[in-house]
């Protein structure tokens, strides 16, 4: 394996960040430029949103159920089992719903975008598109960014709801808590800041997933091996970025809207 000097490595990383920033910036700027590819946006929305629905339903239900199961034992020790609805709803809406949805969609779609665009790069389809007078950033990247941001927002709401349902099922069936009490506690616990924080996050996560996936796809080099590498990198980078950005959004929202 060829060793790269630290200076070269640093240069490469700075260039990569610069290229990513350019791609992300142009994907936003392209939203305000003609032509707009509504057909492609709808197609991507179907692929990202509807396609991810089964896994989001499953993940939402099981995370909500596990959250209820695990927290119930602790709450029981303090005789506060009735608070289970509150714990599940705040946990799901502010943190787990957006994070789980983001990570699931990152695993499924950031890697999918990287492999699809990467294959197009190595088979010269991207060059062909540019040669035909069409900007791939407008035709391929912008619709993916719009669709992912839009669909992740709604997928997160679905995951939140299903998490609450999952928690409710466990609370009722295992701990015998009255459903009305569970839902009352869950509903009353939610403040504006929780819902706002929880629904802000998917907008950022969607942008991260699409731009990172497209960036790794568009910068693929080295044939089919390069496509495989880009796919893995896209998934890892977008997941890590989601976790890091999640922390900062939570911190920022706490500073702006006050702690829970």
């Amino acid at each position: 394996m060829e060793l790269i000097s630290p200076t070269e490595l640093a240069k490469e990383k700075v260039e990569a960040v610069q290229d990513y920033a350019v791609l992300a910036g142009r994907s936003v700027a392209n939203l305000f430029r003609h032509p707009r590819y509504f057909g492609d946006i709808v197609q991507q929305a179907d692929l990202i949103g509807v396609g991810s629905l089964p896994i989001i339903i499953l993940a939402g239900l099981s995370i909500g159920a596990e959250l209820a199961l695990n927290s119930a034992n602790t709450l029981e020790q303090f005789g506060s089992l009735s608070l289970i609805g509150k714990l599940v709803s705040v946990g799901m809406v502010t943190e787990l719903g957006p994070i789980i949805t983001g990570l699931m969609v990152a695993g499924r779609n950031a890697s999918g975008m990287a492999s699809e665009l990467g294959s197009m790069v190595v088979t010269e389809q991207i060059d062909a598109m540019r040669a035909l007078g069409t900007d791939p950033l407008k035709k391929l990247v912008a619709p993916r960014v719009v669709s992912t941001v839009f669909m992740l927002f709604f997928l997160t709401i679905i995951a939140d709801l299903l998490g609450l349902i999952g928690g409710g099922i466990i609370a009722r069936l295992i701990f015998g808590i009255d459903s009305r009490q569970y839902w009352n506690s869950a509903w009353q616990a939610l403040a504006f800041r929780d819902v706002f924080t929880g629904l802000m996050k998917p907008l950022f996560f969607g942008f991260i997933i699409a731009t990172v996936g497209c960036y790794y796809g568009m910068s693929t080099r080295g044939g089919t091996q390069g496509v495989g590498k880009a796919t893995t990198q896209a998934m890892v980078a977008s997941s890590v970025l989601i976790l890091v950005v999640n922390f900062f959004i939570t911190k920022f929202m706490m500073a702006v809207l006050g702690p829970h």
Partner: protein, 282 residues
Amino acid sequence: MAGPPTVIERPLPSSQHSAAPVIKFEDVSLAFDDKRVLDQISFELPPGQSKAIFGVAGSGKSTILKLAMGLLKPDRGSIDMLGQDVTQMSEEELFKLRRRIGMVFQESALFDSMTVRENVAFRLMEEHDISEDEIEKRVREALSFVELEHTMDLFPSELSGGMRRRVAIARATITRPEILLYDSPTGGLDPVTSTTIIELIVKQRDVYKTSSLLVTHRLQDAFTMASHYFDRKTNHMEHLPQGMQCEVPMNFLILREGKVIFDGSMQELKATKDEYIREYIS
């Protein structure tokens, strides 16, 4: 009627050369990392003419086409396409210019998630103001030109290599571009299929008189182009009678280690004393 042969009695009148070239490379150099791919390349393509670019693998042939399209930027020199310097243009300006140029890629580069119809119609659909009926009509026309009308609803993966090249030609020519760039259109094809592709290129050249650059490592392809014309009556490529040349002049450019070592006509090529070229064409 395409390409009725004209007798060569004297060199072409100078007026034919005086028109501004559609492609002009001036002192163009390009290196990838430390490897110099093109070294001070200069040549011109006058309007209505064809030029074949030869060279062994890695001599920078395909790079010339990518530079001409503005898909790559040279380290130095200027490249004029249809009177505009592509080295000074923004990507947005280049998209407009590229719509006036057609390019056939080495491995066809068809969009594999689209059908043949969608591939060929791609440029028209991107115009956003052409009716569906008009698109359908022009796609049929372009596909019938390459005799592949029956493949409209197939995907590229369902076509043979030769058919994919023909679809790529239909896609590049559907908007009647002012210049056509062919990147090794017969690469990796058997001799019979190669002849079919060359026949199509000759047909395009003689019917529409489009200026073209053809990159190839197969000298016989360019010789076939220079020595044949397309006869619309027989719908076939015919051999030019002795001492005659086609209406669309054909020139040759040979590259060696990134430098131009020959730029001239077939007659000049045959008469060259350069040892490397003689070995190459023998």
